[in-house]
Amino acid sequence: MKAIDHKLWRDLWRMKGQALAIALVVMCGIGNYIMFLSTLESLSSTQAAYYRDYRFAEVFASLKRAPESLRRRIADIPGVDRVQTRVAVQVRVDMPDFPEPVSAAVVSLPERGVPVLNGLHLRAGRLPAAGRADEVVASHSFATAHRLRPGSRFDVILNGRRQTLTLVGTALSPEFIQQMRPGSVFPDSKRYGILWMGRRSLGQAYNLHDAFNDLALSLDRGASVDDVIARVDALIRPYGGLGAYGREHQISHRFLSQELAQLATLGRLFPAMFMAVAAFLLNVVIGRQVAMQREQIATLKAFGYGNLQVLVHYLKSVAVINGIGIVGGIVLGNWLGRELAAIFTEFYHFPYLSFGVSPGVALEAILASLLAAGLGTFFAVWRAANLRPAVAMRPETPPAYRETWIERIGTKRWLSQPARMILRHIQRRALKSVLTVLGIALACGLILTGLFQRDTVGYMVYVQFGLMQREDLSVTFTDPTAYRARFDLVGLPGVRHVEPYRAVPVRFRHGHLEYRGGIRGFEPGGDIQRLLDADLRPVALPGDGILLTDFLGGMLDVRVGERIVVEVLEGNRPTREVVVAGLVNEFVGVSGYMELAALNRFLREGPTISGAYLGIADGSLPELLSRLRETPRVAGVAERRQEIRNFNRTMDESMLFFTYVATVFSVVIAFGVIYNNAQISLAESGRELASLRVLGFTRGEIAYILLGELGLLTLLAIPLGLGLGEWMCYDIARTMQSDLYRVPVVLEPQTYAFAAAVVLVSAVLSGLAVRRRLDRLDLVAVLKAAE
């Protein structure tokens, strides 16, 4: 090894604590980047492969009933590649040993062969045999939740008739990566699943022999989705078509895309913060090293080392520190990525997910970290390397201290000499002080971003289910039903309160903006379902006009008092204008709301309801559920408590992981920044402090001067960090908001306290580490050494 490289290693060894702290920050940055982006890449490529291999359709539509002959005409639409006609219905399922309400979508399979689109990936067993009306394949998650195996039997209510089915296989499908009950935004595989049956038997049960009510298309390359949708709509309209839609409105696809978009955002936000902190730390540490080694640099140059060699020498130590961080980061990223990918595989039931750190992602991470490190150090080193040796050999011009503005505004007489020293130190290295405050603030803020989701979820549950959807059960009828069905429900045992509702799928239009959604009608003055404004005050249903979820109002760019076009996608499909009477605040889903009678009038129908919300007496649930099971008109029953659990679980799975990761990482940043800053301050003022000791100052007094600076910066950083964290939370919440759900930013006081505490503890620990060195300050040596 060359002599200059010996110097490199020994210098590094001497500052190993600081080097390690920086390497840890780099490691977290790289780890984060690799975790997020590799997972993202793995998921995206899995998604693409899955969609391709299992022929996921590109356009979807439901309709009332169309003859199979319509299929030809659809296939003739320019741009359409393949056409799949199916029978798809929502049914109630009776699971032996599971008393709670279960429902499922039943989707038909061709009698022979595999589906042309939306193929199945069989996990176990086989497809139903041709002509076997009693054989069924279940979605893998549903089967797993109920421990169903090929040969298991259960009952379903097909068009009001109970039928016993035998499970012959379990399967996955790209169409149902996430399985959500219509109207619900969270999957619950115990209470909702997908079943696949032969087309003939399913069709017969629903009078859809030689007919279909569900359509899926794939398109030719380059075909216009909008054109095809318009033409399909025109063709299916006479058959009760509900409006075709592209993949981007397919619920399972939407969920997955939303999740991937979030990963991409976080995957750039967090690593960028780490890289910035690493660059800053390297700048301070290497900058300090270079300053201390001015004379050594001059000596090297006096003996014929060139600027480049000197530059390379110092950049090598940057590279070593970074290298340790990079290697650690790749290992960490790989490990965390696997954990995260495992969470997603579990969540999305992919047939395969090969997680791997692609060289591209690793390279990107490495380059980003080297770039940050280079930016952080290059100029300090370059300046030093370029100093003329004769100049570098002379001690650096002593720093110009000045009175600080705090002193000048007249507080001076209250400040002790040590307090003045602290203030002047901070001012002299103003940039470093500012960056230190920012670095600590960033750590503090990062903790908030990790924790806010927990606070927020609690709040969302409270508002959504405690203030807005307060029913114990919600009952959905198989078809819109005459209003008097309400009285049948009132008569059931344990039912205390019934609030009927009408729900109808519509397309909202305002100018060129449109959104496929639904309108729900309630009776005014209801107690179970309430609508709230942004301040959580109840909003009364208008006698006329419509209320929109505020987010939907934003998507349609419509203000209160303006008119929107509502195109009903059911029945005789009226299209009419309606005034937006107000906006309501909701966290889950988006919808339009009208008074029940007004909605019935709008639909030109008599008093009709789609279902009802029930308030029930304690302890009456099992009895009531078994009675509801026997009511054929009831398509599904949902329990509020269950919704809350689903909600929490969905949030937990995707968010809690980030909470832990972010907390651990912010501790690393806080420690890295504070510890390094303390070390540098010690190196810079060691001489000064030793002189004070010689003058008779105690250890405690000089510690006060050194650590006082640190403490002051930390105290400045904490409120700033809490503000910064709040801002980052809002930013994250903003990127996560969609019509599926909006995450409000709610931060409990104890969360702020925790973030502040983590930073304070890091500061104290760093302070103690430096204090130990301060106590061992060698007074004689410091004073004796050559200037």
Binding site: A3, A298, F303, Y305, G306, M393
Partner: protein
């Protein structure tokens, strides 16, 4: 050794150097004319602040003149760019500084190796340390050596590349008398045995007796030049 050599190794004409110190201009050199000869040992004598170090730094390529000419053999040092300066220092010049300027993180042997590794025809670090009598201290770090030993390592480091010129800026400035003698003895020996042109700065007039010539410096100018008919050895100097 003869006190005169055939040709000047350095030819200095009208050399001046000014430093900008904030708003004031410091004239460190105000027109120096001087010839230095191949193989001679010259002592630069003068009060503190008279410009000796400035001259030495310019001769060694650590600094460049404000005006005037400095010729090293056929080359005008004033015309050297940074790369040429670096090559000049690497191949031709050895430095010894008042505060040794050893690299604290390197052992004696490694401090010398630092230079031999980039030189074209160096001695081994061991040989040059043997020359200064430090064969027993090869693997000691600077902090484990006394001041005199550190300065001898610095001399070993400076001569290990067999430079044409050895520039010593107050080499005994930080040393006591007896240690200083030891160091000066090594310098004189290098000059004698390797024929290296050697310039030693001091403000200690007693040291002047060991030189071939003594250049008296004052206020940025050469005040006078004396030639010693007889050179004393370092041991004979009365400190």
């Amino acid at each position: 050794m003869p006190s005169s050599a055939p040709s000047p190794i350095f030819e200095i004409r009208g050399l001046s150097k000014t430093y900008q110190m904030g708003e004031v201009l410091v004239e460190a050199l105000r027109g120096v004319d001087l010839d230095l000869w191949e193989g001679e040992l010259v002592v630069l004598l003068g009060p503190s602040g008279s410009g000796k170090s400035t001259l030495l730094n310019i001769l060694g390529g650590l600094d460049c003149p404000t005006s005037g000419q400095v010729h090293y053999r056929d080359h005008d040092l004033a015309l050297f760019d940074d790369t040429a300066m670096t090559r000049y220092r690497r191949e031709h010049v050895g430095f010894v500084f008042q505060f040794y300027n050893l690299i604290p993180s390197l052992t004696a042997r490694e401090n010398v190796a630092l230079v031999t590794e980039i030189a074209s025809d160096p001695m081994t670090p061991e040989a040059s340390l043997a020359m200064v009598g430090l064969s027993a201290r090869l693997d000691h770090f600077p902090t484990q050596l006394s001041g005199g030993e550190q300065q001898r390592v610095a001399i070993a480091r400076a001569v290990s590349k067999r430079p044409q010129v050895l520039l010593c800026d107050e080499p005994t400035g930080a040393l006591d008398a007896s240690t200083g003698v030891l160091v000066l003895d090594v310098i004189a020996r290098v000059n004698r045995e390797l024929g290296t042109t050697t310039i030693v700065i001091t403000h200690n007039a007693a040291i002047a007796a060991m030189a071939d010539r003594v250049v008296h410096f004052g206020d940025g100018r050469v005040v006078s030049v004396d030639t010693n008919a007889v050179k004393k050895t370092a041991a004979e100097l009365s400190w």
